[in-house]
Symmetry: C2
Subunit: 139 residues, 2 copies
DNA sequence: TCCTAACTTGGACTTTGTCTAAGTCAACAC
DNA sequence: GTGTTGACTTAGACAAAGTCCAAGTTAGGA
């Protein structure tokens, strides 16, 4: 993730303590955090960091392509730092757990020209839905 | 869509004018409306209908499987009455236009067992992203 | 060390959606 | 037809998620 900070500095970013902390939080083990969760973890390291800055920083990271926005549930967006490896998401409709998954093949290949309506396609987001092992045994 | 009303009555629904109006609105040509857009169109036909009733009715239709919730942008959810024909969505990142599309094959087949992490899969939602003809010429 | 544009802050504001208590009415029984 | 009743609707308060702004702070170049 220090790679990330260097990349950002190379793009003219001012390297503030707030941005550093947000980057560190995203680099942790919890990889699909909401903005509020990022803020909560950031506050532990830098108590005076504001919500607005967290939103600003996340937005900038998304704009730079360093972080992905994931909207799996229509509630708060989640932020996925694994932006440099193409992947999709598998979501449990019991507990909401999210896993990164790697389907085979190119998802765009499944959409024939007749179904593209003149669009210039750039990508596809797939959300697989199911029950995770914990939730399916508990039923 | 009167089919829909009959189906709902068969399931014990009280057939109120409000529910009728919401069903009529969803049956129109604009098929990916937000809750507020549904409300705005419903008010044209039944001025006293409340936002709460629109939200309630949409939620019930989703619960009954008659309407799909679509979250393509992390903003307001959209409601898709085309629930009885499996389909996916193609979204323009210029103007936000949404089209129903029908990819070939079973999307679940692309996810090998080693990438399922013990989940019991039930479906997949695919959002194809691209530029629509209008937005790509205008650039 | 100084300067300044970029960054951050707190709080007001907006959008989207949920909840509640009180009033209304669709559908059934007669 | 009329009455009854529980399901439905309403207005408005509330909550969650996110945006915006004016004022203050600061990273990094000169």
């Amino acid at each position: 993730m220090s790679d990330l900070l260097e990349r950002l500095r190379g793009r003219g970013w001012r390297l503030t303590s707030q941005r550093r902390v947000v980057a560190e939080v995203l680099d942790g083990e919890h990889v699909h955090l909401t903005a509020d969760e990022v803020h909560a973890r950031a506050v532990e390291r830098l108590p005076e960091i504001s919500r607005a800055t967290v939103y600003n920083t996340l937005g900038e990271l998304v704009g730079l392509g360093e972080v992905l926005e994931v909207a799996t549930d229509g509630r708060a967006k989640r932020y996925d730092p694994n932006a440099h490896h193409a992947h999709q998401h598998l979501v449990c409709y019991g507990c909401g757990a999210i896993r990164d998954v790697h389907p085979q093949g190119d998802p765009l290949a499944a959409l024939p020209a007749s179904e593209r309506f003149g669009f210039t396609l750039s990508g596809a987001e797939i959300t697989y839905r199911g029950l995770c092992p914990d939730c399916s045994t508990g039923s």
